[in-house]
Symmetry: C2
Subunit: 111 residues, 2 copies
DNA sequence: CCAATAAATTAGTATTGACTAATGCATTAG
DNA sequence: CTAATGCATTAGTCAATACTAATTTATTGG
């Protein structure tokens, strides 16, 4: 028992901490669905590396996959960001900084 | 020149990725001001380690310091979280998830 | 059936990074 | 002045991790 399962915030932040892996997440997010081969193209790293990054992202709950034939299509799971959102929210960043903007925005929408 | 200065998002996320360092940030945030010695107490690591973590946090713009005599007092700089907020915001997490709650909240405040 | 393609996994390597112990450098107390 | 305290920095260690190259397992096109 040297395990001590890291909390969800740590898992999510660490998954996003590596620039290459974060770029993978961003590309997945921007597409509805994207295959590993396509993610590999233009990534600058090997297919194996991409698969490893996808595994981390999946474990962090940030992506989900769908296998079809010999392809595997990945899609973003933004709910996976929730632990990070909550953590930041707890530190009060959002409301205090964005409250006024949002208030204005809502006035326009629903005056 | 193997440098290639990492972008602010990377700097901030990486600063928060380590649980010990994040705990330091949290303690700094919770106090108005706190000295290195006090941060060291109950941290489970040495004073040197704390100083190193504070250096990372400072470089990330997450804390600021004030020297007084032989003490150095640290305080949180939540604006340092902005790159991360923007990054997440760009991926649409906040409005979509919190819009309804906030709308209700604003209705109560300003009906 | 067979060659080719997609993706995951594995073993090995090099780098980074968190830590300690020790030292250095001010500043304050006696 | 001298000892003690607070903090930063340094050098060295060990573990984690990002990567490649190679292999493995499926699946599909000719």
């Amino acid at each position: 028992m040297i395990e001590a399962a890291p909390n969800p915030v740590t898992t999510v932040i660490r998954a996003l901490a590596d620039p290459t892996r974060r770029a993978v997440f961003e590309r997945v997010f921007e597409s509805t669905e994207i295959s590993v081969a396509e993610l590999t193209r233009g990534s600058g790293v090997t297919q194996g590396a991409i698969s490893q990054h996808l595994k981390s992202l999946k474990q962090a709950g940030l992506v989900a996959e769908r296998a079809e034939g010999r392809n595997v299509y990945y899609r973003a799971a933004p709910q996976g960001l929730e632990p990070l959102v909550s953590w930041m929210d707890h530190y009060g960043v959002f409301w205090r900084e964005r409250f006024q903007n949002l208030r204005d925005l809502l006035k326009e929408i629903d005056p």
